[in-house]
Amino acid sequence: MNAFLHHFAYDFKTGVRDRSRLLMFYLFPLVFFFLLGGLMSAINPTFLAGMVPAMSLFAFMCAALLNLPSVLVTAREAGVFRSYRINGVPAASIVSIPVLGTLVHMAIVSAIIAVAGARVYGAASPTALPGFLSGALLSYAAYAGLGVLIGVVASNGTAAILIAQVIYIPSIILGGLMVPVSMLPGALQKIALLLPATHAMRVMTALGGVGSAAAAPPVPWGSAAVLGAGTVLSLGLAALLFQWDSRASQPGGRKMALAILAAAPYVAAALLG
């Protein structure tokens, strides 16, 4: 088994072994799914139409946006990256392996949500599985890119959490997970276009043929392009700004200013949409 596979296998196992990752990958999203499923299916049956993509996206955000930055910042601050560097572990592995390991966990969580959502609550299942998987992959990649970028630029764990919350909380409220974006007031609909969640919900719902989109799914290529561009930009900036050592970090203001460029596709979508 080569080094990359050893590293990947270790990272995947840690997703279950490490309590904080276990919480963010499985416990928190699944408990939220079961609680919200019970509540929303009783008070708002239309929620069930988009429940599977919404709850999958919620899990992606917990794992990629809340957990990934902490993993990277904590490891850098503790000196783990220094140990990696002197032993020849490439930066690309340090950044990509947690993203890939988390992806496998998210595939498992999404499968649980899709099966349990349909069986327990009667939620609409994706009618086009390849399309749904493609949309989910793109959505996860967009959030994972942002998570990695936050992990690279945040000066410490507290800063990482605060920056992540700036995206996470509006995504939950305005991103179409609880209430369709079309039901929001006009100004909030504009603001919602700044959020990856809005585009992710459009793409996952349409490509997966979920709920009302099952009949004649209009393909939201614009949102797919925004997510794709956002992923490429955030991962590219993360590679550019990556630091092995907290002590050798660049000035925080410059890093942050560059990192904000990752929002460009979402800003463009809000201005043009």
Binding site: D18, R82, D245
Partner: protein
């Protein structure tokens, strides 16, 4: 001429306006244990970390096994082993996983015997966060040597280790040296440096203040050999006593203490004097200046 494995020429390192190392030059030969000594802030860690490829020099040339550390860090990583003073592994990584993980990145097979040799056999399944500081340092050493590096960097290798572990580690470092590994060691433990190192360099304010074998370094100091003598009747302690031209320096817990540049002659004179004075020797100790004394002499300008 012996092969130089580490070459430092006019090395400079600064952090903002602060100059950490200025125009440092020295060589370390193949199969040599070289100790880099100095007080905190003397530039030891900057020098080591630049040689390890963790920092970029601001001037001068560095070469480790023929490689420029700043330009080819990946290639360098295959040739060197490093036990850093401040580093860590992921908290949930077990000892076995760590050995597999880093062996894989170094492109070598696992080394179960190494884990056993370093007293970690019973901790194979223990996670890094649950190891004691000493066990963590031993694991770091096992990782550092698992690929049989040509150059081994040890930064405070015995910090946090118990006496037996220190002895074991010293034995292991000597074995590596005997197999041709070049070892560069940074330590605050002068006794360790004196015991282990073939040569040592003392850094002071980013400059090389002294370099040589521990014996050469101690011999070059102003300190003389200390001779302490205890006798049955304490005749040497009587005021005004002079033996072979050496005055009594002081009395200390019943011992008469002398300092001499020619300890052989002074000891012979003391024994002859005691014989003549009808006193008998109880204990005699001859202590040459230690590396620690020489180090303090250099770093405090003789104030110690």
């Amino acid at each position: 001429m012996e092969e130089s494995v580490i070459s430092v020429r006019g090395f400079r390192k600064r952090y903002g306006a602060a100059v950490a190392v200025k125009d440092l030059s020295f060589d370390v030969k193949r199969g040599e244990i070289f100790a880099l000594l100095g007080p905190n802030g003397s530039g030891k860690t900057s020098t080591l970390e630049s040689l390890e490829g963790l920092r970029h020099p601001d001037g001068g040339q560095l070469s480790v096994a023929g490689i420029d550390p700043a330009r080819q860090p990946r290639r360098l990583a295959r040739l060197i082993g490093v036990q850093l003073q401040t580093s860590a592994l992921p908290p949930a990584m077990t000892v076995d996983e760590a050995m597999r993980f880093f062996a894989a990145y170094h492109g070598v097979a696992e080394q179960p015997a190494l884990v056993e040799r370093l007293g970690l056999a019973e901790k194979r399944s223990a996670q890094y966060a649950r190891l004691s500081v000493g066990q963590q340092r031993r694991l770091a050493l096992a990782i550092a040597v698992c690929h049989q590096p040509r150059v081994l960097f040890l930064d405070e290798p015995t910090a946090g280790l118990d006496v037996q572990s220190r002895v074991d580690l010293h034995g292991m470092v000597r074995e590596l040296r005997d197999r041709g590994t070049t070892v560069i060691l940074a330590t605050h433990d002068m006794a360790e440096a004196e015991k282990l190192a073939d040569r040592a360099g003392i850094l002071l304010n980013g400059e090389l203040a002294a370099i040589g074998s521990p014996r050469q370094l101690t011999a070059s100091g102003a300190r003389r050999t200390r001779i302490s003598v205890s006798t049955e009747n304490g005749r040497l302690l009587e005021p005004g006593t002079r033996v072979g031209g050496a005055p009594l320096a002081r009395s200390e817990e019943g011992y008469a203490v002398y300092y001499s540049d020619d300890p052989g002659r002074t000891v012979t004179s003391i024994l002859a004097w005691l014989d003549q004075a009808g006193d008998a020797l109880v204990d005699l100790r001859v202590e040459r200046p230690t590396l620690e004394e020489r180090f303090l002499e250099i770093t405090t300008g003789g104030r110690a």
